[in-house]
Amino acid sequence: MSELRKDIINGRWVILASERSKRPDDFRPAQSTPEGPPSGFCPFCQGSESKTPPEVFALRKPGSRRDRPGWRVRVVPNKFPALNRGLPPERQEDGIFQWMDGIGVHEVIIENPDHGKEIFDLPLSQVQDVLDTYRRRTDSIEDEFQYKYVHVFKNKGREAGASLSHPHSQIVATPIIPKGVNEELYSCERLHRLYGECIFCRIIRDEIRRGDRLVMDDEDFCVVTPFAPRFPFELRIYPKRHSPWYSTITRRESASLAKTLKAVLLKQKKVLADPPFNYYLHQGPNPNLPHEAWVNLEKSYHWHMEIIPVLTRVAGFEWGTDFYINPVTPETAAGFLRE
């Protein structure tokens, strides 16, 4: 069982995975990690279903059997999860130290059966399948109130943290609201009071009006390089309809997001020579929880997607200060991506 511990100084919770024989050099340089097929074996490929834990969800051909081929998207629990499902953990205290059991959910979303097809190579209907799976798993996990925050993310490429090249995303649901999300929620509450509207709705309006950081725009979504990005070519996909929760996305919006996501990832691939990247959803905490802490959550927060191509390394300055140096202005990045 892993454990969550709170840093009393900055309020950040960390997950300590239970490990019996951790050694100081217990990590491997990324370059020695193999990526699986075309020549080798991959546990996520069609036909290898027996090598993963039993699936918890799949979009399948009618008549195909669970944990057998015939799926389009398949979700399995992480075999060695950072957090384990369980009852709501009790927060424990000993003087200044606070901790709790590592209760949570850790799932892997295998995006398609074909090892060689990244999400941007898929037909739009299959991209929509993946996005729909994000929604359905989020919804299902949020039924259990001990999971306060559901984080959906994708790591593509070794430098972005993926250990296997078969396209996959992950979901980690935590028993606390992570510090970064918490800060964003509070900030949105404050800004909502200050400006009298959702700050994201305002950003969307202003970015579309200015246009210099706008990469794409349609009826349902816009893609922008944020005003103060931490990383070169960092991107945000904003839905135009205000909602704090991704799970409220409609079928039409989902089709539209599939189109936007595929297009922007293809642009990024072309302009930046197929970079490793991370993307993740930022959304409100579990809607089934009481939100005393965020009185105006429904009005003040706005779900969105953030995409970060891995082009630079976070180093001493950034680690030490949480203060980022970005060599590319967002206006320049947007210009390249619009071309």
């Binding site: 995975a17 951790k22 050694r23 193999p34 097929p37 546990p43 090598k51 075999k79 060695f80 296997l164």
Partner: protein, 117 residues
Amino acid sequence: MRKKILLVEDEKNLCLLYKEELKEAGYSVTAVLDAESALESIKKQSFDLIITDIRMPGKDGIELITRVMAMRKDVPIIINTAYQSYKNDFMTWAADAYVVKSSSMAELKAKIKELIG
């Protein structure tokens, strides 16, 4: 008929120790010191079980698993490593068991028994 185990362990003394212990437990053991030799052995004969270390010179255990699984998906594999962190690598999912090395071989022996009797 003794069940045949292929043991891949780059640390010579440990390799010898495991080999002796497993022989005493009633298994036929082929022990090799690296992944290349393991692949050669697999091409020449069939095994009921493969036990592999992860961190080895040359091809590591993860790469060995990838290659073995491409050839023979049916052979059970036990990862026997001093490190927990390889659990973050999804390829380790292909293995049937993940044992962290300790001074006792009890867990390893129990997993072997579970998988091949």
